[in-house]
């Protein structure tokens, strides 16, 4: 795995989700982006579906500090401890895994390990993963803290970004057709997603 793409570390994990903490404040992977974590047994793939930045300690709420400061940067310069007392976390829906070289778009046999490093997938990995749309079924079936339609649209936009202009159009049209089948019972949801991935 590439060290340069490391975006965080798993701090909470279940079969369907994991939460990762960023090493640097606000250095969050974008909504809908494909990330992975894993160990010698294999790799888990997931879609970033939520992100938060809050105080490290639950009982300590941040307070407004900028009344007499010229800029947001100045607030952090005047209060250097803030960078150590705030943390950014992102939540990931597990959508697949790789075992013995084979990429599977269904839930893995074991959840991610705590303290597992989380990497942003490289463009070639995203292209490989998005050759199949089976992961959409997992996302459609989930009840997440963000609207499912928003997440699906965001993930398809992220997957489109790693393609050339011509390829991106073809990819999004194919995705749209797949969604038309999966969401045949929910026209409004389908329409909302298609609106959000239009070029």
């Amino acid at each position: 795995m590439s060290e340069t793409q490391r975006v965080g570390e798993v701090i909470e994990s279940s079969t369907t989700d994991f939460i990762a903490q960023c090493y640097e404040l606000y250095e969050l992977p974008p909504l809908g982006s494909l990330v992975k974590t894993g160990d010698s047994d294999g790799e888990l793939y997931g879609i970033v579906y939520n992100a938060t930045t809050s105080g490290v300690e639950p009982g300590r709420r941040p307070i407004a500090r900028g009344k007499d400061e010229a800029s947001e940067t100045a607030i952090y310069q005047s209060n250097p401890q803030l960078l150590k007392l705030l943390r950014s976390e992102f939540e990931v829906a597990v959508v697949g895994h790789r075992r013995e070289g084979k990429l599977c778009q269904y839930l893995p046999p074991k959840p991610a390990r705590i303290h597992g490093f989380v990497y942003q997938c490289l463009p070639e990995e995203v292209r490989e993963f998005s050759q199949s749309f089976d992961f959409l079924t997992i996302l459609i079936d989930r009840q997440l803290s963000v609207p499912t339609g928003e997440l699906i649209a965001a993930s398809l936009r992220q997957m489109g970004k790693v393609r050339s202009d011509d390829d991106r159009g073809h990819f999004l049209v194919t995705a749209g057709k797949e969604l038309a089948i999966l969401l045949s019972h929910d026209f409004n949801q389908l329409k909302a997603i298609l609106e959000r991935i239009k070029r």
Partner: protein, 399 residues
């Protein structure tokens, strides 16, 4: 059933009523104290002589240049660092085995200026060996001193100072810095202990760490040390005014006070130093320097403790410094300006101390988790884990 607030309420009502009645008298005493302070401003050397010659049972502040002076905050340097440590501990629990105690030190370095940054650390130290549970006697003595309760609190203060010295020596560059401790530098409560305890904790501990910090001040490097007391309850300056009000040229409280009928000194009774300086100082200003005359200070040597009061906004704090900081104008100004700056950044309390406290704090839940960790380890190693029936009763409540 725990505390019955219904039953407490009527007692609170009586307490508040008593406070209300005494309010006018306290205001008058405060005005008397301010008037006395004003009158003494041009008689400082006479008052200083009276302090030196008198024998008083109350703790009186020694004088330096004046009593009623106030000094505006000096400018803040462009680049500086503030260090702070604070501590918390888990005391020996005689209801559990094994005998051990834990000291947790919070250590903070905040760097301001062109390269701002922060390091926040929590450093737990577990003590359990026979030699760690006592202070051994020196020479031919046989009676060792067990470390627990008050003495553990003092050992923790020493550990905080030790960590502060390590932080100060690790400062990466020669930028001016203030190293802060919470509470007093005056370890007056050591007086009641045998000499070998004072030697171990004060001479070879606390004071040696202050010396380490002092030695860092060379080749133009500036590292001042200070301690910060929020909302101080001390009355040393007021006691100095009591002495000033006393008509005896030289006072011996044991001889003169018993038969005294005029009681001039009672004109300022009930007033605290902070009440005076809250009225006297403008926000950001510090008072004159005073000297602690606590019995234990005789051992402090070059670290003899000086103090001043500092008005933040609505509060007066007491800041204590060793003599080598008090006597160096640049260091004193650095302490004044940076402590004030820290308070303003920290909603009225030095932000470095506040964060050091957050790093150090051991909550009730932490304490219980610690003991559970110890006990589970004992069980895993097939060692007996015994605790008293009282301890078990507190942990397992039943009907």
């Amino acid at each position: 059933m725990s505390l019955d607030l219904g039953k407490v309420a009527s007692q609170v009502e009586r307490m508040i009523a008593t406070l209300k009645v005494g309010r006018q008298e306290r205001q008058q005493h405060l005005q008397n104290a301010l008037d006395t302070l004003s009158k003494q401003a041009d008689q400082v050397s006479a008052l200083a002589t009276k302090i030196e010659l008198s024998k008083v049972t109350w703790l009186v502040a020694g004088l330096t240049d004046g009593v009623g002076g106030h000094y505006p905050p000096p400018p803040i340097p462009d680049e500086f660092a503030v260090l702070a440590t604070d501590g918390s501990h888990v005391d020996v629990d005689r209801h559990r085995s094994p005998r051990c105690y834990l000291i947790n030190i919070g250590a903070v370095t905040l760097r301001y200026g062109s390269s701002p940054g922060a390091t926040l650390d929590s450093l737990p130290y577990l003590y359990s060996g026979d030699e760690e549970m006592v202070i051994p006697p020196s020479g031919d003595g046989i009676q060792e001193q067990i470390i627990e309760g008050t003495l553990l609190g003092i050992k923790r203060d020493v550990a905080e100072c030790g960590q502060l010295a390590r932080l100060a020596s690790g400062l990466p560059e020669a930028i001016p810095a203030v190293a802060l401790l919470d509470g007093t530098l005056v370890h007056w409560n050591l007086v009641k202990y045998p000499g070998f305890v004072i030697e171990a904790l004060l001479d070879k501990g606390f004071l040696s760490y202050l010396s380490q910090i002092k030695r860092l001040n060379n080749n133009g490097r500036q590292v001042a040390v200070a301690s910060y007391i929020s909302f101080p309850g001390s009355t040393e300056v007021v006691n100095t005014l009591r002495l000033a009000l006393c008509p005896h040229r030289v006072l011996d409280t044991d001889r003169n006070c018993r038969d005294c009928t005029t009681r001039e000194c009672e004109a300022v009774v009930g007033v605290r130093d902070r009440d005076i300086f809250l009225r006297l100082l403008e926000p950001g200003e510090r008072s004159d320097l005073f000297i602690s005359r606590s019995e234990i200070i005789k051992r402090y040597g070059e670290h003899q403790v000086y103090f001043f009061y500092l008005k933040i906004d609505d509060e007066v704090a007491r800041v204590e410094v060793p003599r080598w900081v008090a006597m160096d104008e640049a260091q004193l100004n650095l302490v004044h300006s940076l402590v004030l700056d820290q308070c303003r950044r920290g909603q009225g309390y030095p932000v470095a101390l506040s964060e050091a406290h957050e790093q150090a704090v051991v909550t009730g839940a932490d304490r219980e988790n610690f003991w559970q960790l110890v006990e589970s380890w004992l069980i895993e190693e097939h060692l007996p884990s015994t605790s008293s029936a009282k301890s078990r009763s507190k942990r397992t409540r039943w009907l």
